[in-house]
Amino acid sequence: MQDLREGLINAFWLLATFDSDLVEITLRSLQVTITALMVASVIAMPLGTFLAIKRFRYRRLIVAVLNALMGLPPVVVGLIVYILLSRSGPFGVFGLLFSPTAMIIAQVIIMVPLIASITHQTIREIWSEYRDLMISLGASKVQRIQALLWDGRRPLLTASLAGFGRGIGEVGAIMIVGGNIDHATRVLTTAIALETGRGDFGLALGLGFILILLAIIVNFAIHMFAQTERQSLW
C-alpha cells in the first residue's frame, strides 16, 4: 500500500511539475506507437479485407496463421528484429538497431496480425450481409471495398485501438531492439522496467499510472473524435 500511495504521489508530482524527462519519454512513447499503428493499419486493414472477400487456395490456412500470430511473443519478435538489424544481419547496413525506427519495426510486426485478424472478422461479417446486395446493385470491386471499410469503420477503429493498446504497453521487443538508451530510445514501459530493476517502485508505479492515463486519454479522444457512441450520426 505504501508503494501504491508513493506511486500515486510520484505520478501527480511528475505531472504537476511537467518533468522534462517524463515529457520526453511520453512523447517518444506516443511517437513510436502512433507511427507503428499507422504503418500497421495501412498493411493490416487491406490484408484483412482481402482475406475476407477474396476466395483463393490456402486462404483458410493464412487466416489460421494470422489468428495464431495474434499471440506472437514480443520478446521473440524483438530477438528476430535484433538479429535482422544487427551489424552482421541482412539489414545491418542501415544502422537502425537501437533507434526509434527499430522500435517501430518491432511494434508493426506485433500489431499487424492483431489488426488484420480483427479487420478480417469485421469485414467478413459485413460482407456476408452485403454480398448479394452489392452484386445486385452492380457495385465494382473498388466500390464494394469502399462500402465495407466505411460501414465497418467503427469496428475497424476498435481494431486500431487494440493495436495501440498492444503497442503502448509493449516492453520486451522494444527493450531488445531499442536498448532503453536515455534521451534516445527510452519510452514509458522501458523506463518502468528500469526503475523496477533499480528498486525505485514509487517512481516505477508513478510512470505506470501515467502510462495507463495516456492509454485512456488516447482511447477516449479517438472515441470522441469518431463519435462511436452516437448512432444517430451514422
Binding site: 459485413i126 450481409e129 452485403y130 448479394d132 446486395l133 452484386i135 445486385s136 446493385l137 452492380g138 457495385a139 466500390q143 462500402a147 460501414d151 465497418g152 448512432q231 444517430s232 451514422w234
Partner: protein, 238 residues
C-alpha cells in the same frame, strides 16, 4: 408499355449446388406484361430461380436470354430480398447508395430520395439509423432503395414473408402503384392469398421445375396439374 428488356427466355436453365439440383431444367418465356408471381411450397426453388433471372445466382447449365445485353438488362433491374439487406448507415444514406454508385451527385440523389421516401412512407425516418427500423420499415426501405433507380423490372423475393398484416398491406399497395406505372414485377411467394391479390401471371414451381405457367385467373380457377390443385387446396405437396 412492355419494357424493351423483354421477352426473357430461360432455356434449360439449371442451378446445382454440391451435386443437388436446386432449379431446373427450366424452360420459360416471360413477356414482361403485368405482374408475374412464382408460386410454390418452401424448397421449390423459387428464390434460386429469381436469383438466376436477376443474375446473382450462378447458372450450372442452360441459358438466360434478355432482349438486350445482360449488362444493360442488369442496369435496369432491381431486387428486393426476403430478409431486407440494410446497410449500416442512415435511412437517407441507404436510399441514395444505388444512385451514388451510378454516378449521381449527392444533391440530385437526395432530391430523388425525397420523392421515393414520400411514396413509401419513409419521409419521417430519413435521418434515423436504418438498423433501428422495425421489420416493416426495413422492408419498405429495401423496396424504396430498389425503386429509386426507376427499374423497368423489379424482382421481389417473398417481400412480405416476415411481415404482419398491416405492413403486408402497405407493401402490396406500393407494389400495385409501381405496377400501375409500368414496372414489371416478378415476385415469389408461397402465400396463395398474396398471389391472388397481385398476380396477373403465375408460374407454379415444384421440385425446381415449372409445373404450370399461365394467367392467374386460369391457374386459380382451373389448375392443370394435380400438384397445383393440391397446393391450392392447402395439401402438402413435395
Amino acid at each position: 408499355m412492355v419494357s424493351a428488356l423483354f421477352p426473357l427466355r430461360l432455356e434449360n436453365a439449371e442451378m446445382r449446388r454440391s451435386g443437388r439440383v436446386l432449379v431446373g431444367p427450366v424452360n420459360l418465356e416471360l413477356l414482361g406484361e403485368e405482374t408475374t408471381v412464382i408460386i410454390g411450397p418452401n424448397g421449390a426453388g423459387k428464390t434460386s430461380l429469381l436469383k438466376l433471372m436477376h443474375g446473382i445466382g450462378r447458372l450450372s447449365g442452360g441459358r438466360i436470354i434478355w432482349a438486350c445485353s445482360i449488362d444493360k438488362a442488369r442496369y435496369r433491374q432491381s431486387f428486393v430480398f426476403q430478409t431486407p439487406i440494410i446497410m449500416r448507415r442512415t435511412v437517407l444514406k441507404n436510399l441514395i447508395y444505388p444512385l451514388i454508385l451510378r454516378g449521381q451527385s449527392r444533391p440530385t440523389a437526395e432530391t430523388l430520395c425525397k420523392e421515393v421516401a414520400e411514396q413509401t412512407g419513409l419521409t419521417g425516418v430519413l435521418g434515423r439509423d436504418a438498423l433501428s427500423l422495425s421489420g416493416g420499415e426495413k422492408q419498405k426501405l429495401a423496396l424504396a432503395r430498389a425503386l429509386i433507380v426507376k427499374p423497368e423490372v423489379l424482382f421481389l423475393d417473398e417481400p412480405c414473408a416476415v411481415l404482419d398484416g398491416r405492413s403486408t398491406r402497405e407493401i402490396e399497395d406500393i407494389l400495385k402503384q409501381v405496377a400501375k406505372v409500368g414496372t414489371c414485377l416478378i415476385m415469389t411467394t408461397h402465400n396463395i392469398g398474396q398471389a391472388q391479390r397481385l398476380a396477373d401471371n403465375v408460374v407454379f414451381l415444384l421440385g425446381g421445375r415449372v409445373h404450370e405457367c399461365t394467367k392467374a385467373r386460369d391457374f386459380f380457377n382451373a389448375p392443370q396439374t394435380t400438384e397445383a390443385t393440391m397446393f391450392l387446396n392447402g395439401d402438402i405437396v413435395e
